[in-house]
Amino acid sequence: MNDMTVQNTSRRDFLKGSAGLLGGLVIGFYLPMRGGRAYAADAPRAKPVYPPNAFIRIAPDDSITIVVNKSEMGQGVYTSLPMLIAEELEADWSRIRVESAPVASVYNHTGFGMQMTGGSSSIPSSWEQMRRVGASARVLLVRAAAQQWGVPESECHALNSEVIHAKSRRKSSYGQLAEAAAKLPLPDNVELKLPKDFKIIGKPVKRLDTPEKINGSAQFGLDVYIPGMLTVLIARSPVFGGKVKSFDATGARRVAGVQGVYQVPTGIAVAASGFWPAKTARDLLVIEWDEGPGAALSTPQMRAEFLEMARTPGTVARKDGDTEKGFKEADKSIRAQYEVPYLAHAAMEPLNVVVDLKPNHCTIWTGTQAQTMDRAAAAQTAMLNPDQVEIHTTFLGGGFGRRANPRSDFVIEAVQVAMAVGLPVKVVWTREDDMRGGNYRPMWSDYIEAGIAKNGKPVAWKHTIVGQSIVADTSFEAFMVKNGIDATSVEGAATLPYTIPNLQVDLHSPKNAVPVQWWRSVGHSHTAFVVETMVDELAHLAGKDPIAYRLGILPANSRYRGVLQLAANKAGWGKKKLPAGHALGVAVHESFNSYVAEIAEVSLQDGKISVHRVVAAVDCGMVVNPDGVEQQIESAIVYGLSAALHDAITLEKGRVMQSNFHDYAPLRFSEMPQIEVHIVKSSESPTGIGEPGTPPIAPAVANAIFTLIGKRLRRMPFDQETLA
């Protein structure tokens, strides 16, 4: 995993090649991002490459290709990143096209130091970089025109993909100027527009990828077919960590279309002419497994162990004041335990990878969120240099974190298969493989004691968290685990915003055979539920309105306040007359530097929760594409609701009990609430939007159910409880 600092020389050839081919302008440069998430600053940094770094290609026909260095998994980066460039470039938006970036250090994430899409960071990390890229190109185009016309640059301006010299009424299109502009040295510094002058940023813009996504032509990883390619399905161990002891492939080999059966490190691979023969043959394999210690894992027992651990002191993640003293001063106190299960990402497109392995070159097509890591892992597996590995990032049929695997599990396995088969392969995970393939959102158990003073305000809060670290034993551990604390395990809990003089957050990070990973909103997916339902309990204990109570214990200029108040106003909190049997619940949470409050209106139908309406208020700083923000909040709410209401991955004797969408049920059309998204006007720099809508929905629903029937929901998913 050390290629993060390796320069990619073939990239330069690529740039020259494509520039020559198109006779156009190739431009871009590296800018380290300031700030970002805590670990970003500590991430190994690639050395800046200057020049070149291609984000823009302008062709003689005036078409502009924006090379996007982030993976498009639904979050809209193929639209929002081009908007940043086009704004400063003064480009004709109707002529913008998008291409996915190859792997090269010039395309590294400005904060992570590697090419990766995650952490709701695409806009924040690209905000300055992409605008500078666009502005630099514009400066060069203006300069080229001024030189051709022999006029001062200051008399020329750029507009709608043209450079104009008003005095002499001359103008030239970007396509006409690109070749000359490409020969000019990059400007050292460029001035960026003031927000008041934005023409594209901040306006609702239609997605550039919609046309191909509605006519079936968008290419996902599963849609890649290359000559001579075989489809491979793998029979993997039914227990995490298990190994093949012996196998009999006699029946499998008889299936028409089967080319071969191979033992690979993760199991038995069946290579065939297509999915159906591969699947038919795989079903006929007889395999004896050495299951290993993973076979001892069962959910009931794991829950009991976690809950017991939650009652014992852990590693201290945050300590303010003295909680023992605080509880002595408390007028009233409560204790509660919380549980959330393992969760699969269950993206609609199951995992898949196409590998074409040649003696000195490996070409990979897959929908990945983590190109640099995957390339390094593929290279190491195939005993090649990273430069000899090429990755084509297709559209991702959902990512949600699963496609950024710190162990590059699905890519390494596919390269191993290609090595075994000796022909181009497409490794396809069936839905069952994907569901049972691990790399889950960890199971968490929490225990909280909290006390309030006579005036109702909290005086003591002791929170103990139990769950696996998602970065343990990965290359991320070194810079994301500090003093025994994985920052992602306690985010949202150790960083809770409320004023509590005596506060302690402890963490236990037990290890077991279940592979775990980030899942949309990472640690926040569980901490918001715990913190925001407990705060609601305190409000009730204090006899206060839940929103008034929160406002009373939030710091004066906290950005949480704005979203809470906006959501309350728009939802008609305390004012709107609700239908009989309906109730509202609220939650507010910050994640990825964005603040989201959600108010859910719920009812019970035959003991099942119905969510009718969700009013969300979001403060994500300046907004690039309001339509994109709305889409992402809607999406994050639906994703969070599926988990809140229905979903759990459970184990029996090491086996995952769920397999497909009938027993791991995403929210369906008929369950969809009406969703309203309201955006707080802000002049702050843009912050994350892909994930922050997820954390508040589960606690908002749980708090609404309490208001409705007086029962606290402290264990997800909620539909395992009998409610009336």
Binding site: F275, M348, V428, R431, N660, L667
Partner: protein
């Protein structure tokens, strides 16, 4: 050999007759607009039309499709209704990751063919079987209503 008519074109495939239509479309004909999501008729990503009706191609043996008209997302724009549904999808800007959208559009088109002005309940019933993990359901509803309006106006 199995004879098929897909999007108005006759074609023959040499395949085991029990092979699901989905994999014939994808692996044999490289028509990749129809998606694999679950393989057990739970998610609807594989929805195509068989003689105008929405079916799950992942559980439909190719032999069943022989002698019938198969319409896939690639051929949808050849009908006025299909075109208007796609136009509504474009106007509402429905897709996010986009993976489920072929199935959504095929299901919506079959619904509108049967019920040109579907009620809320009819929309919910028809679309309940098509999963979307990105949560585009509300936009799907708007797009269906828009397509229904356009159809109504065109009379």
């Amino acid at each position: 050999m199995i004879s098929l008519n897909i999007n108005g074109k006759d074609t023959k495939v040499d395949v085991d007759p029990s092979t699901p239509l989905l994999w014939v479309l994808r692996d044999h004909l490289q028509m990749t607009g129809t998606k694999y999501g679950c393989g057990i008729a739970q998610c609807g990503a594989c929805t195509v039309h068989l003689d105008g009706r929405a079916i799950r191609s992942c559980v439909t043996p190719v032999s069943v499709a022989s002698g019938k008209q198969v319409t896939t997302i690639e051929g949808l724009a050849e009908t006025t209704l299909g075109k208007s549904v796609q136009a509504a999808w474009q106007e509402v800007d429905v897709p996010q990751c986009g993976y489920c959208q072929s199935g959504q559009i095929m299901a919506a088109t079959a619904l509108l063919k049967e019920h040109p002005h579907p009620s809320e309940a009819q929309i919910s019933t028809a679309m309940d079987g098509i999963l979307c993990r990105c949560g585009t359901y509300n936009r799907i509803r708007s797009a269906i209503q828009k397509a229904a309006e356009v159809k109504g106006d065109a009379k």
